[in-house]
Amino acid sequence: MEDEEALLTSTANPDTQIEFEDEIQDWRNLTKIKDTSLPKRGEKDYEPDGTNLQNSVLEESRNSMFDALAGDRSHVVKQHVKAIWISSQKRGLITKPKGSFLQTCGVIDSENKCWLRPEEFCYLAERGSIEPWFEDKDLAMSIEACYAYCFDNDDEIDEYHVYSYLKRHGFIVMKNEEQRIIPKLQTISPMKRVYSQLLKWINYFTLPNLITNLFGHKPYPFFQNLNFTSKKFTSYSQIYNSIKLIPFRSHSTPSTQPQPQSSSTQSKLIPTFNIWKPSPNFSKKSPPLPNFQILVQNVNKYKLPTLKQLHDLINSTNYQNKHHIDSDQSKRLKNGYGFVLIATVDYGIINIVKLSEADFGNENVWYVPGPKPQNKKNNGKNNKNQNNNNNNNNKDKNKDKKGKK
């Protein structure tokens, strides 16, 4: 199918590209969500048509919403946990810690008291798991008071929304308090490097190459005056390599051209939260490397960070499998290398994007015809295989082997 066709068909049905959470849902379906399965997308109307039926359905939806919003925020006496907001520390204090949330929230000090960060305190209060208390009055705080006292600026509120969004999704989320840059590990394992060097040498000595090398063919041409006819190219890899010119940032030698230290006061960006996939064995005392790291940015306040900021940000990340490299070329191209998540926030609406470093410059995709086919029918198939092999990791292997005599 043509690209345009793909667009038409994929968008003919908007459901396929809009995530479920994106749309405002019919609250009459809330009961279904509690039965663990997601409700089907509610049928909505095109526009108000003034019918009584439409009005009564709308009223029903609104009432379902209002009823749901009126639901109690509470826990039972048996599980009562009182948490006191200590303003001076900017922490919530639980003197008698209990509850399953302790597995992923709070820090226990030497006196066995639990300290909650503002977002933890507020989130647990909001879902009814703790009873928030004022420090200097013997009085419970409302959610209103939690919002007013826990956050010192607008960014912290956006961060809180992202925190609770991820928590509701079941992730384990912790503030990334590590303010130092984690040194970047070697991207290529030593073994891999030896291996690829070896392959390079092997290829160098493959015969057609040896011969062209002996005849003094240099792959770098003079642009403008280039005259291919005076060169003896025996394969497309030679032709393509000869026109390579534009420098690119490679994931294995990522250092950017030295940028003069700018006078800008723009602060260095650091991921806001560490995120782990849900795991029953999670140890908050000695957590493993997170699965993801996320930066929170309000779209009405911040723009896309500069390239330098993004590179620094990605360099500063440290998460599980950071140095994993896909063995399949097309996956490498699609997934890239190091990445960071950015949660963009627009009045509590959250859209998360993944920014990854890509390295197309290290991947050749030119077409290499396969060996002469046994019969015509196999032709396409062979080409494919050949392509995949080439894609694996060594570009020098991309020597054309013309099957024709």
């Binding site: 003896k232 190219f233 010119l245 996939k277 997934n335």
Partner: protein
């Protein structure tokens, strides 16, 4: 099957530069060595040179053979009346009932599919009207069955069989000379394509006001001498991807600069879409030109909707002094560096397990 093979044969070469064909060497067979050497000595790297006219900022190729050459050897250019390959002449022959019946062109297949979809939409509209009427009477949704049927209709692959109908408009009179169709279609190259063919491959002659134009002259016409000139940025990105083997075509239909195809449009879908942003040495300047997230979100939605990968290419911009001090274009281009970032929506639900 045979169509596929022949397509592979037609597009055997991915650039209008062809390598020398040498036989394989079998190490223990000295005859193969000799054969190789002979082929090597006799062989010449073939460059298929074409000609384009540079007029009013457009690069137009009007010679039929040249058009074919550019299309066959790496999918360069676009027929001005076609979606990609110049197929207007064949299409119009068919439409006007001239010539023989050939395979349907992409444009024709699309038109048929769109017609089918319109029919479906009409039926759906009717259904909805009926439903609205009933709703006024207070009856809810009696049409679930029918709707399901319609959905099937939509999901079903639309069969493309056509009977030929002739469509001759008054406006078509001007196309005919002595009852024969004049080919009005030319191939247009975009600036980076034309410049690549000239500068990197030296496979094209470019005429300006009927005079041949040199690479440097062409460059000066296409770019201002400013270091962050759009043409230069677009060109270095084009050159980068072409030199890696990608077939690079315009991305305007999806609101991006380029689309990257493996091999070319008839072989693969474009998997990647490219947008280009400058990266200055001065961070303050970068902050001033920074794009907002909403803008990116819009692009990423369109690109995600057609299941493509969005690449943001940041091009390092050298200083004007560095740029001016370079003597050759080659040196100048080498000052620009490609930095690629992938931008993709991250869906929490799909990343939890």
């Amino acid at each position: 099957m045979s169509k596929r093979a022949s397509l592979g044969q037609v597009h055997k070469y991915s650039l209008p530069v062809h390598p020398i064909e040498v036989p394989n060497i079998v190490p223990h067979n000295p005859i193969s060595w000799v054969q190789f050497l002979i082929a090597y000595w006799k062989g010449v790297t073939v460059v298929q040179t074409t000609t384009a006219d540079f007029v009013n900022g457009q690069f137009l190729v009007s010679n039929d053979e040249d058009i074919k050459t550019l299309w066959k050897n790496g999918f360069f250019g676009k027929g001005i009346f076609s979606r990609s390959e110049a197929t207007w002449y064949d299409r119009t022959q068919k439409r006007l009932g001239l010539g023989e019946f050939k395979n349907l062109t992409i444009e024709e297949i699309t038109a048929i599919r769109r017609d089918e979809r319109k029919k479906f939409k009409k039926e759906r509209a009717k259904l909805e009207a009926k439903q609205a009427e009933l709703k006024k009477a207070g009856i809810v949704d009696p049409f679930i069955e029918e709707r399901l049927e319609l959905k099937n209709l939509r999901d079903k692959d639309i069969d493309v069989k056509v009977e030929r109908t002739i469509d001759f408009r008054d406006d078509d009179q001007q196309l005919l000379v002595d009852g024969k169709l004049q080919n009005l279609e030319t191939l247009e190259l975009f600036a980076a394509e034309a410049f690549f063919l000239k500068f990197a491959l030296n496979a094209i002659n470019i005429r300006h006001n009927d005079q041949p134009i040199s690479t440097v002259e062409l460059f000066n016409k296409l770019s201002s001498s400013k270091v962050d000139d759009l043409f230069i940025m677009n060109y270095v990105v084009y050159h980068h991807y072409r030199s890696l083997g990608w077939c690079v075509r315009s991305g305007i239909k999806f609101g991006t600069e380029y689309l990257l195809y493996k091999r070319g449009p008839p072989f693969h879908h474009a998997e990647h879409a490219v947008i280009i942003l400058p990266n200055y040495k001065d961070e303050q300047q970068n902050e001033q030109v920074a794009k907002d997230f909403v803008w990116l979100s819009s692009i990423s939605r369109v690109i995600g909707g057609v299941r493509k990968n969005l690449i943001i290419v940041f091009v390092d911009i050298p200083t004007q002094e560095e740029f001016d001090s370079c003597e050759t274009l080659e040196e100048k281009f080498k000052l620009y560096k490609i930095n690629e970032l992938l931008y993709r929506r991250w869906v929490a639900n799909k990343n939890r397990d």
